[in-house]
Amino acid sequence: MRDELHLMELVDRYLDGSMSGEERTAFEVRANGNVELRQLIADQRVLREGVARAPVRAAAAKAYRAYRFGKAMPWAGGALIVAIVAVATLSLWRSQVSGSSTENTNEQEPMLERFLDDTIGSHLNPLVMTIDPKQDTTLLTPSGIVLDIPYGAFMDDHGNTITTAVRVTMLEALEPLDIMKAGLSTMSGDTLLETGGMFYFDAQANGKAVRIDPARPIVAMVPAKPGQADMQLYQGVKLEDGTIDWRNPRPLKKSLVPVDITTLNFYPPGYEAKLAALGQDVMDKVFMDSLYYSFSGDMFAQITGPGKSRWISIEEVERSFADTTVASSRTGYTAIEPHMGIDPSKVRAIWNAGFNNTNLATREFEERMRAIHGTCDNAVLDLYVNNLDQDLGAIDALSARMGHPEFNVLAERKDGRVDLPAGSADRLARTYREWSRAAAEAVRKTQEAFWSEQQRLDDVGQLRQNKQAQQRLEQDLVRFEREYTANLAEACRQLGIKKLGPTREPPILVYEVLIPNAGWWNLDRALYVMTADRKTGSWSDERTGKVATIQYAPFTVEVVERKSYEDVMVYLVPKEISSYQRMKDGGHRFSESTNKAFTYDVVCLGRRGTERFGALRSVAPSSLEERLALEPMDDSRLEDLLARQDASVSKGLAEESRYAVWLGLDRDRQAKTTALAVLRNQLLPVVFPCSTPEGETADRRAAVLDRTARYPAGEDALDELLTVSLRNADDPLTRYIEGRVEVQFWVLEDGTVHDPKLSRLLYPSCDKRALEIFRTMPKWDPAIRSGKPQRLQYFREVKFVKMRPGTTVETMIQLK
C-alpha cells in the first residue's frame, strides 16, 4: 500500500505541475512504457475534476434555492444579534432539549455590558448555557423559544470551526411588559413597530465572541401569537445614544405543526355533505373511504365497440380524439369520456400514517388540499407531495405559476414546512408515485370486475325471467285448451249431442267466420268466448229447444298476514284437468272465477327473504271465499304438500316457488347495484368537479355524430314492418300471443344490418320471426360522423299482435 500511495502522490505532483523538468521527463518516459500507469494518471485527473465539481455543485444548488425560493438568509456572522420577531399561527412547539447544562443567573457578563448599557436589558434575566459545539444542540427557553444549534455552527475570527465549549447567552422579551421594563424600544428609523417580541443572542468561546458559520445557521423558533400575521425579522443596531434601531427587515417563515394525518380531511369539498344529504352514514369512515377511492376507476375511460371493450387511460382518449386518423380507424367505438379531477388513488397514497410528520399532515395542507381539488390538476398535488422538503409557501407560489392564481393568496402566508430526516422526502415521493399507480390499477380492476359481474348477472337474470315467462305462457295456453275442451264436452252433453267432431281452432276474424253449419260453429264460438272471459253463459239449440249452460262463479282467497310476506302467489288447481291457474292479486285478496263443472284445490305460495311458505286447501263446490294461513316450506315439504296433484302441476308449482325466491334475491341485488350506481352518479360532480355536466357531454357526443342511421322507407314503414301478426304461423298457439321482442343489431358503414341478436325474448316462434325480419331487412342509410359513415349499434322492438291494426276482435286471452 505504501508504494501505491507513493505512486498516487507522484501522479498528483505530475498533475499539479510541481515536478522539476528532469523529474517530469523521467516520469513521462516511465508512463509511456506502462499502460497501467497511464491509466492511473488519466483516472486521477478525472477524479480530481470530479472532486472540484462537488463544491461548485453545492454552490449551484444553493444559488438555485436562492433564485427559486428567495430563501431566508441565515443569521449574519456578527456575534451580537438582537432581533424583533413574531410569527403567526405557530402555537405549541414541543421539542427535546438536549446536550447541555442550563444555568439561570443574574451575573452580568462583561460582554453584555459592552453592548447593553444600564437602560437596555438590565431588567431581564439573562439565560446562560454552555454547550458543546461538536454536537447538535436544541435549547428551549422559558418563554418557549426553541434554539436549534447544529454542530460546528461557531467559527473563530479566522473562519476555523470552534470545538471547545461555547457559552451562549440569551435575553428574551416577548411580552410588551417585558419589553418596556427592559427599556427596549420598537423604533425602526422614525417608525414605531408593532412587536411580537424581541430576543438577544450572544455566544462566546474562551471569553471571546464567536462568529456563526453561514453554512450552518442557527435556527430559532419563536412562539407566535394569534393575529400577528406578516411579521418580519429586524436586526438591532445600537445607536450612539444607546438606543436600538431596528433595521434590515426580512420576511419570516412559519413552521408547521404536524398532526395525525388520519384526523385531517382530504376528501373533495362537499363530499361528506353530499353523502349526508343523500342519507348515507358519514360517521362510517371505512365506507366513505372505499366509496371515494372507488372513483379512481372512473379516471379511466372505456372504449366499446363491436365485440370488444377495453379500458384506456385519459391520455389515450385525448390522443384518439385529437388524431382524426386514429378516430376514423376506430369507427364504431363509443368512447365514454373520462372524468376530470384529482385522482382518488393519489389521495389514498398520501392519506395514511406513512405521511405523518410531513408537510401533508398539517392543518395548513388540509386547506391546500381543498384548493387542489378545486384545480382538478393532479400536477399540483404531485408538486406538493414531491417537494416535502420545501416550504409550503414556496410550493404555493409554484402552483400559482402553474396557472392557478388562487394559490397566490396561500403563498402570501409564507407557511414553512415540517422538517424531515435526510432522504425522507425522496423516499416518500417515490412511495407516493408507486402507491398511487398501483392503487389506481387495483381499483380499476376491482371496479371493472364488479360491474361486469353485475352485467353478467343481469343477463343471466333476464334469460331466466324470459324462460319463466315463456313457461307460464305455455302452461296457460295448455290450461285454456283443456278447459275449453272440457266446456265443449259439457255443453254437448247438455244439448244431447252424442257425437263430437274434432275440436277445431276458433277463428280469429269475425268476418271470416262462415256459418255453413249453424250448430257447431255457433256453439264453438260462444263457448270460446265464455272460456276466455270466464263468465257464465248459455246457448240454446233452436232445432231441439235444448239449452246448454256453462257456469262460472266468482271466488276469492284471503291470505293471513299477507303483508308480512314479500311475495304471495295463489293458484287454482282444477282436479278434472291437469293444470293450474294463477289468481289475480288484488293486494288484499286474490280473485278468479271458478268453473262450476270443476272441483278445485287452492295452492298458496309465499316468500319472505329466502324463506318459502305454502298452503293447500280443497275448495267445496259451494265455497265463494277461502282464508288460508301459510306455513314454512322447503323442497321436501312442498313436495308432500303437492303430492296429490298431477306430476306436471306439482313440478310447475315447485318451480314457481323456487323462481320466486330467486327473483326476490335478484331484485335485491339489482336494487343494491342500482342504488350504488345512483349514489356514485350523484357524487361524480363532487369528486370530479371539472367534468363536463352529464347533459353537456351527451350534447357533445351527439354533435360529433352528424346523422344517425335511418331506415330508408322511413320510420312509419319500419314500425309497420316491426308490427307482426302471426295468424298464419305453423304453431297455432302463437295466434293468441301478444308481446314484444327486443333485437339488438349493428348498422354497418355500408348500411347493412349486421349481427341481429335478441335482447328480450317472448316465445320461440316469435323470437325466430323477429330475427328473420332483421336478417332479411333492406339496407339502411348509415350513421354519419365527421362526414364519414360510421357503424353503430341500435335496439328495436318487434311487436306481436293478434290482429293487424285496423281490425277488431274481442280479447280472448290476456297474456302476462
Partner: protein, 189 residues
C-alpha cells in the same frame, strides 16, 4: 448583470452570486426540456450541470468567451438533454430545436469529457460526505494535511494522508465500475 461581471465574480470565488444571476437563463431551458418530454426537475438538473461546466471553463486557463454566456449555457443544456433522452431510450423524432448556428464547435468533445467528470463526481459522492470533505480540502482548498487532520479530527498527518489515499482509490474503483472497466491493481516497479 453583464457577462464580464459574472466571469469576474467567478474568478473572485463568488460562485453563489454568479450562479444566482445565471439562473435567469433557467426558464428558457425549462421551456426546452418541457417541450421535449421532460419535467421541470430535469431542467434544473441539467442546468446545474451546465453551470458546473461553465464554471470549470471559466476557471481553466484556456478559457475565452466565444459566445454569450446565455448561448453557451443553452447549447450545453440542449446537448445534455439530447443525451439524456437518448439514455432514456426516448425517440428524438419529435425533437423541436435543431442545433443552432452559433453553437460552440468543440461542444461534443467538451461534453464527453465533462460526462466523465460527472461520473467521477458520482463515484466520489457515493463514498460519503467525509471522503468528499477530505478530498475537497486537499485538492480544491489546498489545505495542508496537518490542518485537514485537525479540522476533521484525524490523529495526525499520516492518518489524513492514508484516508485521502483510500478514498481516492475506492473512488477510482467505483468510477472504473461505472465506466465498465476494472482497475488493475497497481504494483510499484
Amino acid at each position: 448583470m453583464d457577462d464580464q461581471r459574472i466571469i469576474g465574480l467567478i474568478h473572485q470565488g463568488k460562485d453563489h452570486e454568479a450562479f444566482k444571476a445565471l439562473y435567469a437563463y433557467l426558464p428558457k431551458v425549462e421551456h426546452l426540456v418541457r417541450q421535449n418530454s421532460g419535467r421541470r426537475g430535469d431542467a434544473k438538473d441539467i442546468f446545474q450541470d451546465a453551470l458546473i461546466i461553465f464554471h470549470r471553463r471559466v476557471r481553466s486557463e484556456e478559457f475565452a468567451l466565444t459566445s454569450s454566456i446565455g448561448t453557451f449555457l443553452f447549447a450545453v443544456c440542449r446537448n445534455l438533454w439530447r443525451d439524456e433522452l437518448r439514455r432514456r431510450n426516448k425517440s428524438l423524432g419529435e425533437w423541436k430545436l435543431e442545433t443552432e448556428a452559433d453553437e460552440p464547435a468543440d461542444l461534443t468533445a467538451l461534453l464527453a469529457r465533462e460526462g466523465e467528470f460527472k461520473q467521477a463526481e458520482k463515484a466520489l459522492k457515493s463514498l460519503g460526505a467525509k471522503c468528499v470533505d477530505v478530498l475537497t480540502r486537499f485538492y480544491v482548498k489546498h489545505e495542508p494535511l496537518a490542518q485537514i487532520a485537525k479540522s476533521l479530527g484525524f490523529s495526525g498527518e499520516g492518518a489524513a494522508k492514508t484516508r485521502k489515499y483510500k478514498c481516492l482509490e475506492e473512488a477510482r474503483k467505483r468510477y472504473r465500475n461505472m465506466m465498465g472497466t476494472t482497475v488493475a491493481t497497481m504494483q510499484h516497479p
